[in-house]
Symmetry: C2
Subunit: 304 residues, 2 copies
């Protein structure tokens, strides 16, 4: 199950082409180099972060009932929900095991940091599910949720890179804040792709997140800004049992007229700017910091 | 959710009487004393083991669809399956966080040990679910499964107590093997109570595990020993969609005639004897070792 989920094997156990962007471990290795360390030192930490990320994906697919990921059946579709819960649990335990590959005092600090961020991530997941359950969600509450659900693990990725390099507490904290802002920018971009993404590039249907009535940032924005009849219809769409084709085009049109795309782009740009200024404030190796800026650009310009 | 599950609060957040036997943390503290340490030193480890145990209970209830635990609604009944998955995830992350409260080099060894045993426990859970899915299960395979599912965490409880006391690697290993055998004895006793337990003491219906068609040790034994028509009917009962009242009394009678209860009692006694001889082989404080023997007696004589 684990090898399948990580994309190393197909469902029959034959070797397969690995999937996933591996963004978090790449950022962890770059943060280590930026803080003056050899990237190799951060490998166990980078693996741990990627394993925590994948544990959350496997459980997330169960929780949301998602049947596909990267165009492949999700783990619970192939092995059932109970075994998928086990697969996620095993990935989380493996993440901790990976940490202890670094036989230095920094393991305790790294373990504490990863656990705290993992808890934050789970807390974000709790909020996300509660939001979907109903009731109004403010933009502030939504941003606080994604700061935990996505930001926390990007924070861990960069902080752990710093720890592996033996960086000062101030530099580790700066790297962490940079990671948090990158994570926020990444999630906002993800929310945009969920509605305005190119079908051929994302592999998802047009307006995918509207069809599954996910309360992502553009929708939370619209629910806060729409008025009168439009607000009423929007609320009805996000409460109703069934979604008509007319509902989808109504929501797409309303997002357009409210300027939701521009709002989201501003929000993403703001987080990128904040991330870059955290990077500039820290005392880092310039070449590695440049590479991190390139990753930040990729995060915001990617269309898949 | 966590406070409710641990029995500290009721579903409305009001203080409640805590439930659960807290066997594993008690054994961890006693193992620490037996190895010559102050029990207080092992508190973070004992908490970690109890949290890992509770993470597994919350996910187990989701996986098995169990609606009651200690006579109270399970977490997924009150908050839904997705949130219950999150609650379990948080307990596992908290377990690791608890480990780092011990600011000594032993944290790395403790973390590795707990992670390895947690993985073993999840592996046992994978086997358990696969067994329920169908096909023949041998007694050997069943015992290998409960050695992982239950034995591994009892092993961790006693090993971590030894680590907290700064015991020698040999003593830590002896304590771990003692814990594994105690866990096996505990699980066998649990399997017996699931069929022959007193309704008033266990809070479960008569022959509870037959009604839910759980392939516990007495049933695996019967499936291996029964012959002819009896075997055929037993196999049919454990495959069929519905269970009649006649089926339950047939199985109870068959277990009787095959001597399943005596077989299980022998098995439990054998694991207790093995546990006590591991204890005798280790170089331990006698008073604490005596207390551990009392816990072992309780494990095997309890009727709830």
């Amino acid at each position: 199950m684990l090898r399948y989920h990580l994309g190393w094997e197909d469902a029959e156990g034959r070797p397969a082409q690995s999937t996933g962007k591996r963004l978090r471990p790449v950022l962890c290795l770059l943060a280590c180099e930026a803080a003056g360390g050899q990237a190799e030192r951060a490998l166990p930490f980078a693996s741990a972060v990627e394993l925590v990320h994948n544990f959350s994906l496997v459980h997330d697919d169960v929780q949301d009932g998602d049947r596909l990921r990267h165009g492949r059946d999700t783990v619970w579709v192939l092995w059932g929900e109970p075994q998928a819960i086990n697969a996620g649990d095993a990935l989380l335990a493996l993440a901790h095991l990976s940490l202890t590959e670094v036989t230095e005092t920094s393991v305790v600090a790294a373990s504490r940091l990863l656990d705290e961020r993992t808890l934050e991530m789970v807390e974000g997941q709790v909020m996300d599910i509660a939001f979907e359950g109903g009731g109004d969600v403010s933009l502030d509450a939504y941003l606080a949720m994604i700061s935990r659900k996505t930001g926390a693990l990007f924070d861990a990725a960069l902080s752990l890179g710093g720890l592996a390099a033996g960086a000062s507490p101030e530099n580790v904290a700066s790297l962490g804040r940079c990671g948090r802002q990158l994570g926020l920018a990444f999630q906002v971009r993800d929310d945009m792709l969920g509605i305005w993404g190119d079908v051929d590039r994302t592999g998802k249907p047009v307006a995918a997140d509207i069809r599954r009535r996910k309360k992502s940032l553009p929708i939370v924005f619209a629910l806060e800004r729409a008025e009168g009849d439009e607000l009423e219809r929007l609320q009805r769409v996000y409460r109703a049992g069934e979604l008509s084709a007319g509902d989808v085009s109504f929501v797409v049109g309303l997002l357009d007229s409210l300027g939701a795309q521009a709002y989201c782009q501003d929000e993403a740009d703001g987080h990128r700017t904040a991330a870059l200024s955290e990077l500039a404030a820290a005392d880092l190796d310039e070449r590695a910091a440049d590479e991190m800026r390139e990753v930040a650009d990729f995060l915001l310009e990617r269309d898949f």
